[in-house]
Symmetry: C2
Subunit: 209 residues, 2 copies
Amino acid sequence: MTDKQRRKPGETRDKLMAAALALVGKGRHFASLGIREVTRQAGVVPTSFYRHFRSVDDLGLQLVDELGLVLRRMMREARANVLQADKLIEESVGIFVAHAQANRSFFRFMAQGLAGESRAVQEEIRSEMRFFASELANDLRRLRLMEHLSDADLDLTCDLVVRTVAFSLTDLLSISEDDDYQIAQVRKRTTRFLQLVFVGAANWNSGSA
Amino acid sequence: MTDKQRRKPGETRDKLMAAALALVGKGRHFASLGIREVTRQAGVVPTSFYRHFRSVDDLGLQLVDELGLVLRRMMREARANVLQADKLIEESVGIFVAHAQANRSFFRFMAQGLAGESRAVQEEIRSEMRFFASELANDLRRLRLMEHLSDADLDLTCDLVVRTVAFSLTDLLSISEDDDYQIAQVRKRTTRFLQLVFVGAANWNSGSA
DNA sequence: CACATTAGTGAACACTTGTACACATCAGAG
DNA sequence: CTCTGATGTGTACAAGTGTTCACTAATGTG
């Protein structure tokens, strides 16, 4: 009666996902969310939930898919904006931080999922990170950087880079959204971490391992 | 009536903490634990919980303290067993993996807490990691390693080392407890990560930043 | 020994939770 | 048009939740 008309298909589905994300953004942990809580936040009756998801974990899985899109957008922007090789690290970190700020809830969900209780979500996020690392390796190859490294060693390096950035994510999420000074600190520190890694990669002789 | 006699003081408290840890070890996320659930697992009546903790988060805080002890034990063993400098990394990683396996629930709790919903727990764990990094820096100074680095750069390096190991923790926890092959893989990969970092530190010239 | 304190118990409370069921409305296929 | 399936709503219920209360047994201190 009140407001029954069916809008665009999948609208309620989106509202539910957005609601879960909003709760996570408010500081809640995804693992502690309940169906009723999510539907309440979405302004939908609890029963509607089952029309789109079998459980909260299922919703989580679909959120990871959307997270993948966010990450790909970020990657695209990084590729388009990083021009000179000497500022490569600094600019990439800047873009990462900017995206993390713009999609705080998404990235918080990602950080939570890494040690979350749903094995499936965990594996999906891990897989996204692997993909990211392999794309980074491709880019470095294409830019003719780190050419002295074997494929395996380049993968190793890129994996470490992605992990380092991912960890910085937890730093970023633990500080206030608009504490520009601290944000800049994280950006600087992350940049130095990556420089350290790349100096290591540049001086890596594969025979040593 | 049934079994009222008071045993050693703090016994129920320990049972409650052990129960929470056991649930985490079974794959549950700490943020999703409830008071009744924990007391049930501990074999104690719900009311008893309030004699020792004000909330589940409070219990979490006390758990971090115990986690600190576990970490210090690990550090002591590492200091005692690492003899030759050339095997320093490999042996340290080995000791870390061994402890992580022996105290799986504790370390799982730590990994969860890093992106957990209790700001306080998060900050405590972060503080433990900082302490760990600073102790590592002390050790490296004492061993006359990395003497060309400024204090700030040494801190940077040690911080990155600790983060890298912490991230490996999530790898370790995501694989089966007794999949020896995969465990060895994680150990090898982590070792290489750290070697990469230290090669970077060895070739780091502080003027570049 | 007496006594205040501490640490345990069970019953009760007002809510919240997940899920099932029957029903209403809409979109599109025949 | 009618029929069908998808998507929405309200009601209902049993089970689980956090917390309070009054009560009891053991402990250590004076």
